[in-house]
């Protein structure tokens, strides 16, 4: 009896604001729990890695403070220098060329050709295959002793050389080739979608203006694809930065250490060499480089939005 009299008024005493809040609780949970988990893991993991980069951690994380020693020691290795140079080269080459190839494929497929479905599937399927498989198969194909070069040589053109895989200076481009093969289909799909949503009036207008196919694409259609280009670039950049399995299977970082990339160096230091601290330092430096690219872009976008809002 006394329990129920205590219970009922307290239930009705809930203020309307709390009631309204309770009603919205499910949606708050659905929005915030995943977002906070996702954003939280990014923040916490990055912070943790940063912390570890200042500790003397080797096989397992330990507390302690060694200042910048891990950083100087990573910066002192040739691996890091090579990896960093390669990231710039590979990042640029892979992103730009994949986008271009993807665009070319999209334009070709967009020419009212027969068998579009089949062709599209052919260009897309490499996305479905794991990087390990891609790397392995391309290491056969690009190997001068058994792949393309051998095939051409055997066909009679004996002076033909395609030995980038074993050429220290060119090996990084074999990773670009395999990467293009794997990712250009995705770029193609996005571009094709973009091409197909260009307003028909725009094309009519350009046709009336007498634009030929080349001018049509370069001056009229492509400029409208700008947002898609940015999306493609971001996705490809993310690929480039995280490229790991592909290199491990294709060149193993070689010839020598000529095709090291930051993701490999990070993994190598952290786990192969048992230097968690140095590996973390490498990871932090890579993320800082990335922020160096992303922050200006973000700031620019923010500025453009502010300008648009104020206009």
């Amino acid at each position: 009896m006394s329990v129920s009299t205590l219970g009922t008024p307290s239930a009705t005493r809930l203020s309307p604001a709390i009631l309204a809040g309770l009603k919205r609780l499910p949606e708050w949970l659905v929005i915030w729990v995943p977002l906070l988990l996702s954003a939280g893991h990014v923040v916490v993991f990055t912070a943790w890695t940063t912390w570890i980069s200042f500790t003397p951690s080797t096989l397992v994380p330990v507390d302690g403070w060694v200042g910048l020693r891990n950083y100087t020691s990573v910066l002192g290795t040739r691996n890091w220098k090579i990896a960093f140079d390669n990231l710039l080269l590979f990042g640029f080459g892979f992103v730009v060329l994949t986008a271009l190839v993807g665009l070319l494929l999209a334009i070709l497929i967009d020419q009212r050709i027969r068998g579009e479905n089949v062709l599209r599937s052919i260009f897309l399927y490499p996305m479905a295959v794991s990087f390990v498989v891609t790397g392995t198969v391309w290491s056969w194909l690009l190997n001068p002793g058994m792949g393309v070069q051998k095939l051409v040589n055997d066909m009679g053109w004996t002076s033909f050389r395609f030995d980038w895989l074993v050429d220290r200076d060119m090996a990084i481009w074999t990773i670009v080739i395999a990467g293009i093969w794997q990712s250009s289909g995705f770029a193609m799909a996005l571009f094709l979608a973009g091409l197909r949503s260009v307003e028909a009036d725009l094309i009519k207008a350009a046709q009336i203006d007498g634009a030929g196919p080349f001018r049509m694409y370069t001056r009229v259609i492509l400029p409208t694809l700008w947002p898609i280009v940015v999306a493609v670039m971001v996705i490809l950049l993310q690929f480039a930065i995280r490229t790991f399995d592909l290199v491990r299977a294709l060149t193993g970082g070689g010839p020598g250490i000529a095709t090291q990339l930051p993701a490999l160096v990070i993994y190598d230091f952290m786990f192969q060499r048992g230097h968690l601290g140095r590996g973390s330092a490498a990871a932090v430096m890579m993320l800082l480089t990335l922020l160096g690219v992303l922050l200006p872009y973000g700031a620019w976008k923010y500025y453009m939005r502010r300008r648009a809002a104020n206009a």
């Binding site: 929005i31 995943p34 070709l108 020419q111 052919i122 479905a128 794991s130 391309w138 979608a193 786990f271």
Partner: protein
């Protein structure tokens, strides 16, 4: 919006060139698959004694039985079959969870706009750039602390949380194109957060959901590092089984069976692309909500 933007030029040299280029490129794209499929039909001995690239002398169809149900990983001789199941048990729930939660999150960020949304979106998006290698040890600690070490549920959790970066990014960018007026109209009609999502946003979403499902499915299916580190024994995903087949220094590489296993293991992702791919471009094209 149009179905095609090609220009009906004269049926001339130009078109012939287009066809020639497309067919040449398509053939080039197919080469790696052809090589793998051919190797999957050659015996290990034949490959070892000749070259990695070649036409089968004898068709070794037994590679497929070996890959599917016979070859041994340590004392377990069951082929990749059980590992395929493990991969499915991780990939399917993780794909569904990350896609759904990402869709809701993207919807909330793009259409509801709340305080701090752009910050949290920036952080979530940053997640796509974090190398997996960097996250390995933190995940180890997390799994230990939530008690999911060596469980498939642990992998599902990891892939769901990590996958949210992609799915949220994709969905948010797609949903931004939904006009705000639609949201206003729905709110005046009395629809709440979930009803708008369910009745208005979801029906518009198949294109982007197909994209995220394809993306998540292939990435989780092909993932290796977490798969071997966070599972044990017979719980391992199929990628681990594939690697088990690859050469160690002390062994002749089992290229024949390995290639067969690669082909079999790639079937689910290839199917996803084949069936999803049809809606992929069409979906993206229809993306602009009028």
């Amino acid at each position: 919006m149009r179905e095609q933007s090609g220009f009906a030029g004269p049926p001339s040299v130009g078109r012939a060139v287009v066809y020639a280029v497309v067919i040449l490129l398509a053939a080039g794209y197919l080469v790696p698959m052809v090589v793998v499929v051919l190797n999957s039909l050659r015996t290990a001995e034949e490959i070892a004694q000749t070259s990695m690239i070649g036409w089968p002398k004898v068709w070794a169809f037994q590679n497929y039985t070996a890959a599917w149900s016979d070859f041994c990983i340590a004392q377990t001789c069951s082929g990749i079959r059980p590992y395929m199941l493990n991969s499915a048990l991780v990939t399917l729930p993780a794909t569904v969870f990350s896609t759904l939660l990402g869709a809701v999150a993207g919807y909330a960020i793009s259409l509801w706009r709340f305080r701090g949304d752009s910050w949290i979106f920036a952080l979530v998006t940053l997640g796509v750039f974090l190398p997996e290698q960097m996250r390995l040890i933190p995940w180890t600690i997390v799994l230990r602390d939530v008690g999911l070490t060596n469980t498939l549920s642990g992998l599902v959790m990891i892939h769901t949380i990590q996958g949210l970066s992609f799915t949220t990014l994709f969905c948010r960018n797609y949903y931004v194109a939904i006009p705000q007026d639609l949201m206003k109209a729905a709110r005046i009609d009395g629809a709440g957060f979930f009803r708008i999502f369910h009745r208005i946003v979801m029906p518009l979403s198949p294109p982007i959901l197909i994209v995220t499902v394809i993306w998540q499915f292939t990435h989780i299916w092909n993932e290796f590092l977490y798969g071997v580190t966070f599972t044990t024994g017979t719980q391992q995903p199929v990628t681990a089984a594939l690697i088990a087949l690859s050469a160690s220094v002390a062994d002749v590489p089992q290229y024949g069976v390995q290639s067969a296993a690669v082909v079999v293991a790639a079937v689910p992702t290839l199917l996803v692309y084949l069936f999803g791919g049809r809606y992929f471009v069409r979906g993206l094209t229809a993306g602009a909500v009028k």
